[in-house]
C-alpha cells in the first residue's frame, strides 16, 4: 500500500464529498480543543462521527481521528475521554501528538491504531522510532521542514509508515514547535487547537489602506489593488532593517503534485491534504485532482506529468493563488 490519499473532513458534507471523489481515508476532529482545527461550527459530535464512519466503511474507506493538541493538566480527562470515544466508535486510527496521551491509549485500548501527528514535531528517524518502540505507532506524519532526500533517509531507517503533506495551507514553522499565535493572542495550536484565531482578527479600512490586525498587532496593510488574505500571523508583511516585506512567508500554499513520482519511489505511505476548515467545494475539487494524479502516477510513474488543468484547478484553491514545493525542494529554505 502506498500513496493513500487522506482528505480533510471538517463536516459530514465534506466527509461525503471526499469519499465520493476518491479519498482512501478522511481525517476529522471532535467539537472541542482536542484537535488542531478547533474552529466554531466545524468538526463532529459523536452521532455525526458515527454516521461519517458508517458512510466511509460502507464504501471500504477509512476514518482517522485527529486528537493532536496537547492535553492540559486540569482538563486531562477531556483528551482521554476523546480517546475512549474514538475506540468505542471504531475509528481506524487516532492521530496523537502527546506522549502521555499515547501511553494512555496503549494501556486502555491496545487494539487502537496510533498515528503520530505532525504536531509531534518528529523530524528524524530516531524520534519516529522512539514513538514506535514505546507506543507502537504505525504511521508518522512528518513536519513540512525536510527536503525529499531527508524524508527518504527517514523512510529507510524505520518500519513506521510515513505520511507527508501534499497540498494546502503551508506551515513554515515546525508544527508543534510554533508559539507565535499564543505570543500574539494567548492561544496556540498546541494548547487551544487554533492558529491566529478568528476571534482575534480585526479588519479596518483606513486612509492608508485596509488593515488586518491580530489582537491589535498590525499584520498587514493592503493597497487598493491588493487582494487581502486571511491574516495568518506568519504571512503578514513586517519591517526588518527598514524594509517592508513578507519576512517569514508569502501567502502561498503547498502543492507537491510535481513530486509525486519521487514520493512513490521512496515509499511514502500516504499523502495528506490540509484544510478541514475549508468548504465542501474545496474538498471536492482537491480530492478529484489528487485522486486522478495519484492514479496516474501509480499507473506510469516515468511518464507522469501534472496536467495544466490540474494545476490551474489547484491554484484557484490556493491561498494567494500561488503555490510552492516548500521545504521538500531545498532552495525554498
Amino acid at each position: 500500500m502506498s500513496l493513500d490519499l487522506i482528505c480533510p473532513a471538517g463536516s459530514l458534507v465534506s466527509l461525503k464529498a471526499a469519499i465520493d471523489h476518491g479519498a482512501d481515508a478522511v481525517y476529522m476532529g471532535f467539537r472541542d480543543n482536542t484537535n488542531a482545527r478547533a474552529f466554531p461550527g466545524l468538526n463532529f459530535d459523536e452521532a455525526q462521527a458515527a454516521e461519517g464512519l458508517r458512510y466511509a466503511h460502507d464504501r471500504g474507506r477509512k476514518v482517522l481521528l485527529a486528537l493532536n493538541t496537547y492535553p492540559q493538566p486540569d482538563t486531562w480527562s477531556r483528551w482521554t475521554g476523546a480517546v475512549d470515544r474514538a475506540a468505542k466508535l471504531g475509528m481506524d486510527a487516532v492521530i496523537l501528538a502527546d506522549a502521555g496521551l499515547m501511553r494512555y491509549a496503549v494501556k486502555n485500548h491496545p487494539q487502537l491504531r496510533l498515528h503520530l501527528s505532525v504536531q509531534g514535531s518528529a523530524t528524524s528517524y530516531e524520534a519516529v522510532n522512539f514513538y514506535r518502540e514505546h507506543f507502537g505507532i504505525q504511521r508518522a506524519v512528518l513536519p513540512r521542514v525536510l527536503s525529499l532526500p531527508q524524508v527518504e533517509n527517514v523512510v529507510q531507517h524505520t518500519d513506521v509508515e510515513i505520511e507527508l503533506f501534499g497540498f494546502g495551507g503551508l506551515c513554515v514553522m515546525v508544527e508543534g514547535r510554533c508559539l507565535l499565535s499564543s505570543y500574539c493572542t494567548g492561544e496556540s495550536p498546541n494548547t487551544a487547537g487554533v492558529c491566529s484565531p478568528p476571534k482575534a482578527v480585526q479588519w479596518k479600512d483606513t486612509p492608508a489602506g485596509l488593515e488586518s490586525r491580530l489582537n491589535g498587532v498590525l499584520l498587514d496593510r493592503y493597497g487598493k489593488d491588493e487582494k487581502a488574505g486571511y491574516p495568518t500571523l506568519c504571512k503578514g508583511r513586517f519591517d526588518v532593517g527598514g524594509e517592508t516585506y513578507y519576512a517569514i512567508e508569502e501567502p502561498t500554499s503547498l502543492n507537491t503534485l510535481d513530486l509525486l513520482p519521487e514520493m512513490l519511489k521512496i515509499g511514502i505511505a500516504a499523502i495528506k491534504i490540509e484544510g478541514r476548515q475549508r468548504s465542501p467545494a474545496y474538498v471536492t475539487q482537491v480530492t478529484k485532482v489528487w485522486r486522478a494524479a495519484i492514479d496516474a502516477v501509480k499507473k506510469n510513474a516515468d511518464a507522469f506529468k501534472p496536467t495544466p488543468a490540474w494545476q490551474a484547478e489547484l491554484n484557484k484553491l490556493s491561498e494567494g493563488q500561488s503555490h510552492t514545493l516548500g521545504a521538500y525542494h531545498r532552495p525554498w529554505k
Binding site: 493538566p73 506522549a99 514535531s121 525536510l146 514547535r177 507565535l180 498590525l218 513586517f238 519591517d239
Partner: protein, 299 residues
C-alpha cells in the same frame, strides 16, 4: 532556588563566545547549558570546543549541561547528537524526542528541554521513566497550569523555569536571517554573526514584535519573571533559567541573584539593560507579548 544560564541562542564570534564564558566562571549561576541548539551551520565552535569550555566551567564549580539541537534534519545532525550522548561526562538537555531515545537507551540521565512540549503530568511521567531528572515547561505555560501540573510531579524531578530573555517561539527549516539578505540558507554567509541579539522585526507601524535568529523566531519582548519570585518559591521551582544576551548579561545575573538573596528588585533598572521591552503575559495566562506587572514589584 538557584540560577541557570541557558544555552547561547545566537551566533557570536569565537572570541566573543570564549570571553563570555570566561566571565561566566565568576557569575553566581549554579548551572550552565552549553552547545549549539539552534543551527547546525554555526560552526565557529565545534563539539570539542564546547567540551573544552565545559571542562573549564566544571572546574570553576558549575554544573554543566550540554544542550542538543532542537530541529534535527540531517544524518550529520544525528551524528553530532550521538557524540554528545556518548561523551558521558556531562548531563544532557534533550530538545527533541530523538535525543530522548538515544539518552534513555544509553542510560544517561537528562534534562527535558522546553521544546519537548511537556504540557501535562502524564508526559512528564513518561520522561521520568526514561531517565529525565529535570524538566522545563514550554515557555508559553502559565503559572496556573504549571501549579496544576506540579501537583503530580514525579518523585525526585527538578523543575526549571525560563525566567529571563527573549522567548524562543518557533523553529523552521527556513532561515529568516538569510531570507532577509536574499541569500539561500546553504550559502547564508553566516549573517547571524552581524546580529548578536538577533534581527529585529517590527510591524508596519514600527511596533517591535519578533526577533529573527536564523531558523529560530524569538519574541521582541524580553520575558522577565523577576517580579514573580514569591510565586515561583511557592511552587517550589528549583531553578530559574536566564537566557544569554550580548551585553550586560553579568548584571542581569547579579540582579536576579540579589533579589533571590532578599534585596528588593528594581524592575525599571533591569529594564534599562534589556535588549527589548519587558513582557510576562504567558505567566499570567495571557498573550505572551503583554506586560502585566506594573512598575516596581515587591520581590
Amino acid at each position: 532556588m538557584d540560577l541557570s544560564l541557558g544555552p547561547l541562542l545566537y551566533y557570536w564570534s569565537r572570541d566573543d563566545v570564549l570571553a563570555f564564558y570566561d566571565e561566566v566562571r565568576h557569575w553566581p549561576v549554579a548551572r550552565v547549558y552549553l552547545g549549539e541548539s539552534v543551527c547546525s551551520r554555526r560552526h565557529l565552535l565545534r563539539l570539542p570546543d564546547w567540551l573544552e569550555l565545559a571542562e573549564k566551567l566544571a572546574a570553576a564549580g558549575k554544573e554543566v549541561v550540554l544542550s542538543t539541537q532542537t530541529l534535527i534534519e540531517s544524518e550529520s545532525d544525528l551524528k553530532t547528537l550521538r557524540r554528545i550522548v556518548s561523551d558521558g561526562r556531562f548531563r544532557v538537555e534533550a530538545n527533541e524526542w530523538g535525543a530522548v531515545r538515544l539518552l534513555s537507551e544509553a542510560g544517561v540521565p537528562f534534562v527535558a528541554g522546553p521544546a519537548l512540549n511537556v504540557y501535562n503530568h502524564e508526559t512528564l511521567a513518561v520522561l521520568a521513566g526514561l531517565g529525565a531528572e529535570r524538566w522545563l515547561p514550554p515557555v508559553e505555560m502559565s503559572r496556573a497550569t504549571l501549579a496544576s501540573l506540579l501537583e503530580r510531579l514525579p518523585a525526585g524531578m527538578e523543575t526549571e523555569v525560563f525566567a529571563y530573555g527573549r522567548l524562543p517561539l518557533a523553529y523552521s527549516a527556513r532561515c529568516f536571517t538569510a531570507r532577509h539578505y536574499n541569500l539561500p540558507k546553504d550559502d547564508c554567509q553566516f549573517r547571524c554573526l552581524d546580529h548578536p541579539d538577533g534581527l529585529a522585526l517590527a510591524t508596519r507601524e514600527g511596533e517591535p514584535f519578533l526577533t529573527l535568529n536564523g531558523i529560530q523566531t524569538q519574541s521582541a519582548g524580553v520575558y522577565t519573571l523577576i517580579g514573580e519570585l514569591p510565586a515561583l518559591r511557592e511552587l517550589k521551582i528549583d531553578s530559574l533559567r536566564l537566557s544569554p544576551q550580548s551585553h550586560h548579561m553579568g548584571r542581569v545575573v547579579e540582579t536576579f541573584q540579589a533579589v533571590l538573596a532578599g534585596a528588593s528588585c528594581d524592575t525599571d533598572k533591569l529594564a534599562r539593560i534589556m535588549p527589548g521591552p519587558p513582557v510576562d503575559g504567558y505567566w499570567h495566562g495571557r498573550a505572551g507579548l503583554e506586560k502585566t506587572s506594573q512598575g516596581n514589584a515587591t520581590c
